[in-house]
Subunit: 400 residues, 2 copies
Amino acid sequence: MKKIKGGVTSPKGFLAAAVSCGIKRRGKSDLALLYSETPCVCIATFTTNKVRSGSVVLSEKYLKNSAAQAVVVNSGNANCCVGKKEIEDALSITGATARKLGLKKQDVLICSTGIIGKPLPVNKIRVKIGALAEDLSRNGGTKFSKAIMTTDTVHKEAGAAVKIGSKTVRIGSAVKGAGMICPNMATMLAFFTTDAAIEKGALKLAFKEAVGESFNKITVDGDMSTNDSAIIFANGMARNATIKKGSAGYSKFLNALKSVAAELARKMILDGEGATRFVEITVKGARKEKGADMVARHVADSSLVKTMIAGGDPNWGRVAASAGSSGVDIKQNKLNIYFGKILVMKNGAATNVSKKTLAGIFKKKEIFITIDLGQGKASSEIWTCDLTKEYVMINAAYET
Amino acid sequence: MKKIKGGVTSPKGFLAAAVSCGIKRRGKSDLALLYSETPCVCIATFTTNKVRSGSVVLSEKYLKNSAAQAVVVNSGNANCCVGKKEIEDALSITGATARKLGLKKQDVLICSTGIIGKPLPVNKIRVKIGALAEDLSRNGGTKFSKAIMTTDTVHKEAGAAVKIGSKTVRIGSAVKGAGMICPNMATMLAFFTTDAAIEKGALKLAFKEAVGESFNKITVDGDMSTNDSAIIFANGMARNATIKKGSAGYSKFLNALKSVAAELARKMILDGEGATRFVEITVKGARKEKGADMVARHVADSSLVKTMIAGGDPNWGRVAASAGSSGVDIKQNKLNIYFGKILVMKNGAATNVSKKTLAGIFKKKEIFITIDLGQGKASSEIWTCDLTKEYVMINAAYET
């Protein structure tokens, strides 16, 4: 496997486009289209939030057959909490797009991200569908990745290529999302494309695993936004021997997919609203994985831990206090905590490492905190970012 | 019942004092003593954190008999996560204080608040015990309330007087704690005094209810700091007919106690680190109280909701999204949300109230958000504050 430049249009047969339809101000691009020249196997995971966008509801319905060929995306408006109009608007936009592209209506999905509770400006969008379709190109990936941004400060793309038999298979991706703060409700949209020929069941399994080891590491399942969606399109144009569960190519494909997803998950964290540092919280020595996960997420969500990291101050007491209040039955006298590789708490008490020694660790862009519960063999890793005053400023001013 | 000025020394027979022993910088007072001239019935609730201070461990042990006569408090150091020395140091300080006051050692409790993981400077403290005891006075309440502060920006006291039969019974209190952010780990210490004559069982019941309807509204049980403590001393010097469960005086006493506790809980929120607004989240129409509580706490802990309030921007979509991701099985089409008395979401969709109408609500110091789940009759209220960039600045710089 090797990393390749580019995003959703790197694999064969994918075209993308973006235009400005006037949802965002100052003529910023806010309407994007991703299209495959041939029908795709298509798998998606959607938000588990009980309050969800009509765009999510429609796309989920259209994907019951795991087939699609295009997705239209608007940013600036979530198409959520406006009632029946949500579905009508989603139908209107996907219908117009399908007609323009000559596709069946259920082959065009829709994703929306932005402000909640305001009707989509459907007419503004529809009037641009023609221009959007005409803009489709092999070079449109980056434009696509920029048009889906909301509070993101950078566009996020990644890609990989892997040999399956004699054929080169490519994977490309564009995501938006920033600010994985307790809990994450900045919508995450993730679009993956691949020219691999792959069976539906194999794609589903691989995508679930890749998402689980990347985006789900940074979001709490019960804590998703109203619009979170991750979608992968596989059009088979690489003409490789079809990848099946357990086939020789499966693990190569899976690893490439995981690598792309993990790279983008990290980019999302480092583009966290106002985030300056990537933080990995590892909990080991737990009796059960669920317990390890609870402690890790609890510490990762602690505002006091996150502000400590923003301040560059190695106050590990906050980590201990957060672990102790996670609801998991840990024992203080078995608790070891490491900042980087330095043991800062041993058996529940300070090791009295000098601040000087620790200061270096907190100056790095990536911070690793390990909590060893000393109770068993299960472990879990969670990724997060620091909490800075810039985060608050961005979020306090978001709507207006 | 009427409110009275003053704090822990307002009831008869209570004296307090404070000195500077050099834990805090610039000669700020950091060592405080509260003392009753006669033995007290004494009830306390301590943190449920699995990582806890030696001061908590010792005080809890000493209170097994529900009797005490004094508490010594240091700020600036939590006496936590330093190992066996915690208990030794707590014993040393309470022992010296008991000798100086002529009390049995187990009649002197200890509370600590401040940085975790550094040994208490016991010698600095012990050398000041004499001066502290000599400083005890009827007017020491306010000094006491100031010496226990850490990140607090104001000292917090309250009091009430109530007639029990022909006697006036007084209740006084001083608390420290600020910044009830997701989750609260800024230590809360609450000291209550009363000259009421009251049976142990009745005091326990009343204190539990008062704490439950005030401080526990603003903290998650599983999310307390390593040092949280709430203690009430009752010395009986008002010479009222002893209050018992169900006696005529009980409910009067209870109401006065609840009133004092609620007033101080509000003061703590408004002194939240960088907080500018008091926020009450009410969830009603839930099937069960536990569900109502889960939704209310989830919304109250949402950084996106809190920053919205800091920004004064009525973006109720964030409230809906947070409620939807609380883990409770709510139905979007039954969800009603009110900002103040204004219905902003009806049956899961925007009511399109103008921003102008809502702007006034967010300019107030107190913000009321009501979420009606439309599924049953259970309800819950949680108090919180907004999340401002000042919060982050204070917490990022706390240790150094």
